[in-house]
């Protein structure tokens, strides 16, 4: 489109302005706004802890933090992808009336939600220290997980956002998928619970599960992620990046007509 590239400084400026305006609109730049975005997963953690800690938490060290990390990461993924999926329609006027790479609308939406996620992960670290987990060098790698999770949310959002204007009911289908994903991801149970059956191998195809596993190893165990996790993350991100970019660029020229 008019020879614009993603690396044009004007695109980066637009990305920043769009992300900041959406963030301000969410009223989350205030202390209480941030608090509410953390209270949501915290409430779920409370419920899950009460009901599942005896059944699934037995033998899991720091089960509360284990749950918290899983819930914070899942909540970010679900919120970021759901909101960004709708972004081309939420910012309909920009999609229909202005000329710039439309992926900027989707990515800016993901960024605005990821700001809260980064703060929530920081709160997780503070809670972990307060609950007796000693500081470790591995904790310094947690921002890498945040970045990887942001990228994962971007790829999935791009994939969904370019289909959404043409098939609005994909929102309903995706909400069902997210509910299934919550149970298919070891958030309140451990991977060992799945035994050695095919479900265990399905985890390798679940990049969110790999990310949650990575952050738990870094924060709770104080160790680096396993090679399997790293390979799973690289493959998952690479494949999704390729697919979503191709699909988005195929649909992009028709977006202004259909929103």
């Amino acid at each position: 489109m008019n020879g614009f590239t993603l690396y044009d400084s004007r695109n980066i400026n637009l990305l920043r302005e769009l992300a900041m305006s959406q963030y301000k609109l969410k009223d989350q730049s205030s202390f209480f706004g941030l608090l509410w975005s953390f209270l949501n997963p915290l409430f779920m953690v409370g419920v899950l802890f009460v009901f599942f800690s005896r059944r699934f938490g037995a033998g899991v060290e720091h089960y509360g933090i284990y749950l918290l990390l899983g819930m914070v990461q899942y909540t970010h993924f679900a919120n970021a992808t759901s909101t960004s999926m709708r972004s081309l329609l939420t910012m309909k006027q920009l999609t229909k009336e202005t000329v710039f790479p439309k992926e900027l609308l989707v990515v800016s939406s993901t960024i605005s939600i990821t700001i809260d996620f980064a703060v929530a992960m920081l709160v997780c670290v503070v809670v972990a220290y307060a609950s007796g987990i000693p500081p470790a060098w591995s904790h310094l790698l947690l921002p890498v997980v945040v970045v990887l999770q942001f990228l994962l949310a971007v790829w999935v959002s791009l994939l969904l956002a370019c289909i959404y204007p043409f098939a609005r009911d994909i929102d309903h289908i995706y909400q069902v998928f997210l509910r299934a994903l919550m149970f298919a991801t070891p958030i309140f149970y451990t991977a060992a619970f799945l035994g050695t059956g095919p479900a265990r191998y399905l985890l390798l195809l679940n990049p969110l599960a790999q990310l949650i596993e990575a952050s738990r190893r870094l924060l709770i165990d104080g160790t680096a992620p396993t090679v399997t996790t790293l390979i799973g993350l690289a493959l998952g991100n690479g494949l999704l990046a390729y697919l979503s970019w191709r699909l988005f660029k195929t649909f992009e020229p028709r977006l202004a007509e259909y929103v």
Binding site: M1, N2, G3, S9, R10, N13, L14, R16, E17, L18, S21, K24, L25, M91, Q93, L94, K96, E97, T98, V99, F100, I163, P165, F166, A167, R168, D169, I170, I173, P253, R254, A256, E257, Y258
Partner: protein, 248 residues
């Protein structure tokens, strides 16, 4: 910028739209993608085989009744719509101003909106920073920088959006009814801008119902009728024909 004598050249440009009304569902999308004989009959032709060459450095008015294809033409040239057939050749960077103020947010302050709309108009951050006070001054909003945009009148918002859009540096600017709102003072300011722009030699394509503006600032005029070029030539001649047609 290249040395081509034209800013925009259109050859056999057509644009068709699917008639709306169908609810978009995932199932329908899949069916359309796999359908070997898609139903092409339910289409509306908005632009019909347009051949046109817009010389560089001119301000060209586009007139025509509602639904004549003015906005579609601008959006197709800008690349916002995919053409159905024909070719578009452009030289230099093109900016589209369709829906002045598109992207400005009511709940944000005037200052925030200057940065945001400036970015949407693809104006460099350094330019906005350097021209920030002039932008607010031109819009007579120097005292309103911290006010929420929603507290401003329609006229004030139009002034703000236009003041920002004036900083666009593209070689060719496509404008769709960008200055139809606003009081006499605003119109005079806009006129001064176009006079200055004319001297610089930038290309403007302006779709408007404001025939006074066209007569005063546009060297040539394109008259679109039902998606086709009805006439293109010197403004005085085309406007006379258009006004006669309208009066009938």
């Amino acid at each position: 910028m290249s040395d081509a004598p034209f800013a925009v050249r259109l050859e056999g440009l057509s644009k068709e739209f699917l008639r709306g009304g169908r609810r978009q569902t995932f199932f329908r999308m899949l069916r359309d993608l796999t359908d070997r004989n898609p139903q092409n009959g339910n289409r509306r032709r908005a632009l019909d085989r347009i051949d046109l060459e817009i010389p560089r450095g001119q301000t060209v008015g586009i007139v025509g009744e509602n639904g004549a294809g003015k906005t579609t033409l601008l959006k197709t040239i800008a690349g916002l719509y995919q053409s159905s057939s024909g070719t578009i050749t452009t030289h230099g960077e093109i900016a589209l101003l369709a829906g002045l103020g598109a992207g400005m947010v009511d709940e944000l302050s005037v200052e925030d909106n200057v940065w945001l709309y400036g970015a949407v108009c693809r104006i460099r951050r350094a330019t906005i920073r350097a021209r920030f006070d002039e932008i607010l001054g031109w819009a007579d909003l120097g005292a309103f920088a911290a006010a929420e945009l929603r507290t401003l009148s329609t006229g004030m918002r139009t002034r703000l959006a236009f003041a920002i859009a004036m900083e666009i540096e593209s070689d060719t600017v496509l404008m769709d009814e960008a200055f139809s709102a606003g009081d006499k003072r605003f119109q005079e300011k806009c006129n001064r801008f176009f006079l200055a722009a004319k001297r610089v030699g930038r290309t403007f394509l302006v779709a408007t119902h404001n025939l006074e503006f066209v007569r005063e600032f546009c060297g040539s005029t394109l008259w679109l009728h039902e998606g086709r070029v009805r006439a293109f030539g010197p403004t005085a001649q085309i406007l006379d024909e258009y006004i006669q047609f309208e009066e009938k």
